[in-house]
């Protein structure tokens, strides 16, 4: 077996060397490759109105046809885009952005008013924007959106055409990054009003200020993007065309990939992983997500910390990541995923490793915990689960392990997503298999969920010290100290085992080797094609 693999590997190496050599020759021939990228989207974008939309596909498209104050670069750091630079006050609550001379696709300049208009439009309760809360760091935003305040009190103001002043409720280290998010994109008042309900429903019913513009939208079939000649940084844009084909079936995507109709496959499932493993086409996309078991602390059994710990220790996380999903997911060591950063460093380095498998200790803790609670016989436990394929296998693994290690019979209740959510909201569960993805690059996007009284703290875990730390961190302008407070908070959460983090998900994708320089982002929109190009296709 080992020998076979070695053979295959060396063969692969030779082949790839030959291919690289070929690529080199072609490149010398003068970059004659057609600059056309054939990408896939897994769903029809429900709407391209940046102030309203909520889904990943729309974010992906919008990220390439519009541009905000900042844009995430190759290393996922915010880089000045429509903003030329920014002045931040000492208390880190006032941001004054200076805008560069950028133009919309119809030739009109991008002004500070376009930002003020778009942000207030997203916050206007009449517009029913489901992502309005992403603007809540701005002073007065939440009050206006909840109908308790006035529009005038939202602290975003166009001082003049090229100056935008924003005041924040709290000092936050991730605000520049947030300005790259779709909901923070500018919009033109005249265009929005001209088309009213039809705004952004068709390519000619919107304007563009990003590297590309939308030129064709065949609903539920395809979208076509072409280079935007009015874009301020157009010299860096190399692609002429991007064709997005909609396909939500992996095997179809793979068939189209193999026949050269697609340059990309979004998300290989476990059945395809073995087939493509080791090929140079394979790319791993690390999501900023954490999947975990949520214990309901109102339940008599799981109110006990030792019992929660027992269930956490019983599991071997690497089985879920390496044996079940096989797409590159990483076993969790805490709540916050490794790609979340504070001050340019991974938060995980600052925090600790809290999770390890220890079946003996788990069994001991369970017995101790039951003694503490005066429970004689292990009750039947119900686990609320997802109805996705991989998740089902995870759930079966956990069921089996809890039985083998702890001797606990776990009943798996698989529910459709919305129904599961309803049970969680109502607190009608013992353990729930759940997940959360980051809204922005900061540990806070995960940690503030477990504050007492937060609607997403579904297990009702409560710790005064934790609440205090999060509250302090939220308004702390000293970002170094803030990071320590957050690390301490995570420690409490892990030591009391309010939840049992399982893994951070990764997707395995295929991308033709001739497609270069596509930026992948673990936050906000998934991809940037601004500087992508084709090389060595023909």
């Amino acid at each position: 077996m080992g020998k076979k693999w070695n053979m295959a590997l060396s063969l692969l190496l030779v082949v790839s060397m030959v291919l690289t050599a070929c690529g080199g020759v072609q490149q010398g021939a003068g970059g004659k490759d057609k600059q056309e990228l054939n990408w896939v989207i897994t769903a029809e974008p429900p709407g391209l109105d940046s102030a309203i939309t909520t889904d990943t596909v729309s974010f992906q498209i919008l990220n390439n046809i519009t541009e905000g104050l900042y844009r995430l670069n190759k290393d996922n750091e915010p880089e000045p885009a429509i903003a030329k630079d920014v002045e931040i006050s000492d208390d880190k609550k006032t941001y004054t952005f200076k805008l560069r001379d950028a133009k919309w696709s119809d030739g009109k300049p991008v002004t500070a008013h376009d930002f003020e208009f778009a942000w207030k439009r997203a916050l206007d309760p009449k517009n029913k924007s489901q992502y309005a809360y992403i603007l809540f760091p701005i002073q007065g935003a939440q009050e206006y959106n909840e109908g308790k305040g006035d529009q005038e009190d939202v602290a975003v103001k166009a001082v003049d055409d090229k100056t935008l002043k924003v005041e924040l409720k709290d000092p936050i280290p991730y605000f520049l990054m947030m300005t790259s998010f779709a909901t923070y994109r500018p919009q033109r008042e005249d265009i929005v009003e001209k088309y009213g309900k039809d705004f952004a429903e068709d390519p000619d019913k919107m304007v563009y200020n990003g590297p590309f513009k939308l030129t064709q939208w065949q609903h539920n079939k395809s979208l076509k993007l072409e280079k935007n000649e009015k874009y301020w940084d157009k010299d860096k844009v190399k692609l002429d065309t991007i064709n997005f084909t909609k396909s939500d079936e992996v095997s179809t995507q793979v068939n189209l990939y193999n026949t050269g109709k697609l340059d990309f496959v979004e998300n290989l499932d476990a059945s395809f992983v073995d087939k493509f493993k080791g090929k140079e086409d394979v790319k791993v996309f690390n999501e900023t997500t954490t999947f975990y078991l949520q214990f309901n602390t109102n339940d008599q059994f799981f109110a006990n910390e030792k019992i929660r710990k027992a269930f956490t220790m019983a599991l071997d996380r690497s089985i879920m990541t390496d044996k079940i999903s096989k797409t590159g997911s990483k076993p969790a060591q805490g709540l916050v995923p490794p790609n979340v950063e504070v001050d340019g460093k991974s938060f995980r380095e600052l925090s600790g490793k809290y999770l390890k498998e220890d079946p003996k200790e788990a069994k001991k803790l369970l017995e101790e915990g039951m003694k503490e609670e005066g429970i004689k016989k292990v009750p039947k436990v119900e686990l609320l689960g997802y109805d996705r394929d991989t998740a089902k296998k995870d759930q079966e693994y956990m069921q089996q392990t809890f039985k083998e290690v702890l001797g606990v019979d776990v009943d798996i209740q698989i529910l459709p997503f919305k129904q599961k959510l309803e049970r969680e909201d109502a607190g009608k569960f013992q353990i729930s298999y759940a997940g959360w993805g980051a809204d922005y690059n900061d540990p806070m996007t995960f940690l503030d969920l477990w504050v007492t009284g937060n609607a997403f703290n579904r297990g009702d875990w409560s710790n005064k010290e934790y609440d205090k730390l999060i509250k302090k961190a939220q308004s702390n302008p000293d970002f170094e100290e803030r990071a320590k407070q957050l690390a301490k908070a995570e420690k409490i959460l892990m030591e009391e085992q309010a939840i049992a983090p399982l893994y951070h998900r990764a997707r395995m994708q295929l991308q033709k080797p001739y497609v270069k320089n596509v930026w992948r982002h673990p936050f906000g929109a998934d991809y940037t094609f601004k500087e992508a190009y084709i090389e060595g296709k023909q």
Binding site: Q130, Y133, N145, N220, K246, N255, L256, T259, D439
Partner: protein, 309 residues
């Protein structure tokens, strides 16, 4: 005939109303709301957005609102695809689904009738057995299995036709073929059984005794009568195929309307659920109506008894 159509039409309207009512109330008992990123929206905000949509009103009020709009032919706008009307979305998806469905139907019925006739006439021969095996397979193998096989072998391995996609006639061949197998199977079985029965009837002997040509006997006298049961299933089957098969459309990446039925329920897109249900029901009832009329064309006895009632 005029009165017959009028009564039928009244029944149609009543049936549609019953379907609309049942669907409306069942649908509102689905857990969750039509909001897209429901798990992330703070609860106060959620209530407010729902109120903006008028979903905080009592259910009977919402029901009357809906019926009022439905009578005017307004199916409303989708929740998920904000701002796009359900009618427009059906208009965009239906043509592709309908084309594939119709092609599958025409091909399937033609082949099914021919195979059915031949098996009946050559009963017990190799041809008959072959046709029986084919129709059993057609019943047993789901269309999406065929679709996946066709897409992979014809599209990827042999590269004869596109593996997936939509645009030219070539794109529609494989999906139509995948869908047609069930049609072939059903029609073959119906026609064969009926043909055998009809061929044994006395009037067939009479026809032969009159000295009619074999071709005329089979087509005008035998087949015409044998087709009646087949026609019964053709109507609903056509509607089912024309409104799209979710999985076959997924495999071949066809911008049809099959996905709408499932997607709308998963996302609780209320207006969309109602829209596609009403559209489907309307077509189904219409097809039954047309089949009723077709009976008369094929068999004058049915027309006569219909008129007497």
């Amino acid at each position: 005939m005029g009165r017959f159509i009028l009564i039928r039409f009244m029944y149609m309207v009543i049936t549609l109303w019953v379907i609309a009512t049942v669907t409306f109330f069942l649908m509102h008992h689905l857990p969750g709301s039509p909001l897209a990123n429901e798990e992330r929206i703070p609860p106060e905000l959620k209530e407010q957005i729902l109120a903006q949509y008028g979903l905080d009103k009592p259910l009977p009020v919402q029901y009357l609102d809906y019926l009022g709009k439905l009578v005017q032919g307004d199916l409303g706008t989708s929740f998920k695809y904000d701002g796009r009307s359900v009618t427009e979305m059906i208009q965009q998806g239906f043509p592709a689904s309908a084309q594939i469905g119709l092609q599958a139907m025409v091909f399937g019925v033609l082949l099914g009738v021919i195979l059915g006739c031949i098996s009946a006439l050559r009963r017990g021969t190799l041809v008959d057995n072959g046709a029986t095996v084919l129709s059993v397979l057609g019943y047993a193998i789901p269309s999406f299995t065929l679709a996946a096989l066709f897409s992979y072998y014809v599209g990827v391995v042999w590269r004869v036709l596109p593996a997936a996609g939509w645009g030219t006639f070539a794109h529609s061949v494989l999906p139509s073929l995948a869908l047609s197998f069930l049609v072939i199977a059903q029609i073959t079985r119906y026609v064969r059984t009926e043909m055998l029965e009809v061929l044994g009837q006395d009037y067939m002997k009479t026809a032969r005794a009159k000295g009619l040509e074999r071709r005329v006997i089979i087509i005008r006298h035998a087949l015409r009568n044998a087709l009646i049961p087949a026609i019964t299933i053709i109507g609903p089957l056509t509607v089912a195929l024309m409104t799209g098969s979710l999985v076959v459309e997924k495999i071949f990446n066809i911008p049809g309307m099959g996905w709408m039925f499932v997607d709308s329920i998963i996302t609780n897109d209320y207006t969309m659920i109602m829209g596609v249900t009403m559209f489907y029901s309307f077509l189904l009832i219409l097809s039954i109506f047309i089949v009723d009329i077709l009976y008369g064309v094929v068999d004058p006895r049915i027309r006569l008894t219909g008129a007497k009632e």
